[in-house]
C-alpha cells in the first residue's frame, strides 16, 4: 500500500511543526540494533535493524582475475537484492532500478573511501587477486534501507576473515579461515541520507515518509570528509539547501559513528 494523499498532508503538517508520527525529532534516527556474524559460512556478516527496517549484509570471497585497470588490486563487487519477502512491493525477477541503485551507492561509498585496502588483496599481480563480494538483502523494508545497508556493509567487513587458500592446488579452501581479517583503513565511511519533504529536511524516514519524499541526498562520509554523494528523485534544490544538507549529514555521521563504534573494534 502506498501512502495516501491524506496521510501525506498530515505528515507534512506535523513536520512543519518539527514533529513526526513516532515522536522523533526531524534529525533523529530510529533505534539501531546490530547483530554480528549472522551466518557462520560467510567470511563476515551483519544484521542491521533501524526501527522496523531490517537488512542483512554478508561478505564472501574467492579468487579471481584482476580487472585490466587494476592489475595489483583485489576486486570489490557489491550487489543488493530487494527480497519479495521484505515488502509486498517487491517482486521476483531481474533487479529493477532501486536494487541496482542501492548496490551502486553502497559500492561507491566503500570504494571511494578506500576503506578496503584492495592493494593488499593481490595474490599474483595481473593474474590472481581476491574478489570481495558484499551482498545486501532486505528482510523488512520500512524505509531507509540504504543507510542500514551502509552500516551493515562496514560492520560485516570489519568482522570478515580471509579464507584459506591452497597455493599449490590454486584453490580456495571454502569453509576454512585464516586468522587474518580483511585489511581495512581507519577512515570508516558512514552512509547518511537526508530527505526533503515539503520545506523540511528529514533523517531516517520510515516508509510513509520515504514515499512522500520529494528529493534525497545520500552521502558517504567520515569525520567531515565526503567520499560519495548521490541526489535522487526529481525535485530541484537551492544551493543553500544543499549546504544545509551537508551540515546535517556531518552532524549525524558523528552521532551514528559513536553509536556503532563498539561494533567496529
Amino acid at each position: 500500500m502506498e501512502t495516501t494523499k491524506l496521510t501525506e498532508e498530515r505528515i507534512k503538517k506535523y513536520l512543519e511543526k518539527g514533529k513526526r508520527f513516532d515522536s522523533r525529532k526531524l534529525d533523529e534516527f530510529r533505534e539501531i540494533v546490530i547483530e554480528k556474524n549472522i551466518s557462520k559460512n560467510a567470511e563476515g556478516s551483519a544484521r542491521v535493524k533501524i526501527g522496523k527496517t531490517d537488512v542483512l549484509v554478508g561478505v564472501k570471497m574467492d579468487v579471481g582475475v584482476p580487472y585490466p585497470d587494476s592489475q595489483n588490486k583485489g576486486n570489490l563487487i557489491v550487489s543488493a537484492e530487494l527480497l519479495p519477502l521484505s515488502s509486498p512491493r517487491f517482486e521476483n525477477g531481474p533487479p529493477k532500478f532501486p536494487a541496482i541503485e542501492l548496490g551502486r551507492v553502497i559500492d561507491r561509498g566503500i570504494r571511494e573511501s578506500k576503506f578496503i585496502e584492495l592493494e593488499k588483496l593481490c595474490i599474483k599481480e595481473g593474474e590472481k587477486v581476491w574478489n570481495i563480494y558484499i551482498d545486501i538483502y532486505s528482510i523488512n523494508d520500512d524505509g531507509n534501507l540504504v543507510d542500514a545497508a551502509g552500516l551493515g556493509a562496514i560492520i560485516a567487513l570489519k568482522n570478515s576473515r580471509i579464507p584459506k587458500y591452497d597455493e599449490k592446488e590454486e584453490k580456495v579452501l571454502f569453509g576454512e579461515w585464516t586468522n587474518k581479517n580483511i585489511p581495512l583503513s581507519k577512515e570508516t565511511p558512514i552512509t547518511i541520507t537526508v530527505h526533503k519533504i515539503g520545506k523540511t529536511f528529514v533523517i531516517d524516514p520510515d516508509k510513509e515518509e520515504e514515499d512522500i519524499s520529494e528529493t534525497r541526498v545520500t552521502m558517504s562520509t567520515s569525520d567531515g570528509v565526503i567520499f560519495s554523494m548521490q541526489k535522487g528523485d526529481k525535485c530541484e534544490l537551492e544551493v543553500e539547501e544543499l549546504y544545509k544538507i551537508l551540515d546535517l549529514v556531518e552532524k549525524t555521521e558523528r552521532e551514528i559513528f559513536k553509536k556503532i563504534a563498539g561494533f567496529l573494534e
Binding site: V225, I226, M229, Q230, K231, K234, L237, E238
Partner: protein, 236 residues
C-alpha cells in the same frame, strides 16, 4: 609536504571548460526534437519522441506524462569495446538523467503519455552523462515540450588538492597521485537550482562548496551555447 598545484596536461586553466564546445539542434530528422552536444572529445546525441501514448497500459500515469530516458554508450565510443545494450551503470545514468530534466518540464497535462528521450554517446572522454543531459535539454526544447527553463550540466573535480572544471578522461579515471581524483557531476537550472549532483572521491565540505560555485559559473557558459544552438535552429 608539497603544496605543488596540479598542472593540467592539456594546458587548460583550472576553471576552463574543454574545447571545442559545439551544440547543434535538429540532428535527427525523424525525431520530434534532437540535438548534439560536444565538449572536448566527448560527443553525445539525444532524440526526443513524444508525448505519445504510453504502452503497455499499466505503465500509464493518469496524472501526468512520464519522462523516460534511455542513456547508452555505443560499443565503439570507448577504447576497449563496450558491450552493447544496458548494464547497471547505464541504467543508473538513465534514471539520473530523468531526475535532472524532469523538474523543468511542464508535462502535467499530457496524461497517460510518455516522452521518450534517447541519449547515445558517440565518443566518450569523461563527462558523458553531463553531455547527454545538455543534449537532451536542447532536444526537449526543440520538441516543443513545455519547459520552465533549460538545464545545463558540467562535471567539476578535485585533482589531488586542486579544484578543476570539466574533467577529461585522464583526470577522471587515470590520475592517481596524492589525494587522487574526485569527480562531481552537477546539473543546474538556468535560475541556479540543482537538479542533479553526484560525487565520487574525497573532498571536504568547504571545498565542495567552492566546487559547486565553480560549476554554477560554468553552467552559465554552457547555457549560452545551448541557447545559441536553439536560436540558430530556427533559421533553418
Amino acid at each position: 609536504m608539497t603544496t605543488k598545484e596540479y598542472k593540467r596536461a592539456d594546458g587548460r586553466k583550472n576553471n576552463e571548460l574543454r574545447s571545442p564546445i559545439k551544440a547543434e539542434v535538429g540532428v535527427i530528422p525523424n525525431a520530434d526534437g534532437s540535438a548534439m552536444f560536444q565538449i572536448g572529445k566527448t560527443i553525445a546525441i539525444a532524440a526526443v519522441y513524444g508525448p505519445k501514448k504510453m504502452h503497455p497500459q499499466h505503465l500509464q500515469d493518469p496524472e501526468k506524462a512520464t519522462l523516460r530516458c534511455n542513456y547508452s554508450m555505443l560499443s565503439f565510443s570507448v577504447t576497449e569495446r563496450a558491450r552493447p545494450g544496458h548494464n547497471r551503470r547505464s541504467t543508473e545514468i538513465s534514471k539520473i538523467t530523468e531526475w535532472a530534466l524532469e523538474p523543468v518540464l511542464l508535462i502535467d497535462k499530457y496524461t497517460n503519455s510518455v516522452v521518450d528521450v534517447h541519449i547515445n554517446i558517440i565518443q566518450a572522454d569523461a563527462g558523458t552523462r553531463c553531455a547527454g543531459i545538455n543534449a537532451a535539454a536542447m532536444a526537449l526544447a526543440q520538441a516543443g515540450i513545455p519547459m520552465k527553463e533549460l538545464v545545463s550540466s558540467v562535471s567539476v573535480g578535485k585533482i589531488d588538492k586542486t579544484l578543476v572544471l570539466d574533467l577529461d578522461k585522464y583526470e577522471d579515471s587515470e590520475f592517481d597521485e596524492g589525494e587522487g581524483s574526485t569527480d562531481i557531476p552537477i546539473t543546474f537550472t538556468h535560475s541556479g537550482k540543482i537538479t542533479h549532483i553526484q560525487l565520487d572521491g574525497k573532498i571536504s565540505s568547504k571545498q565542495l562548496k567552492e566546487a559547486i560555485e565553480l560549476a554554477r559559473e560554468a553552467c552559465k557558459k554552457i547555457y549560452e551555447v545551448q541557447k545559441k544552438a536553439l536560436k540558430d535552429s530556427l533559421g533553418k
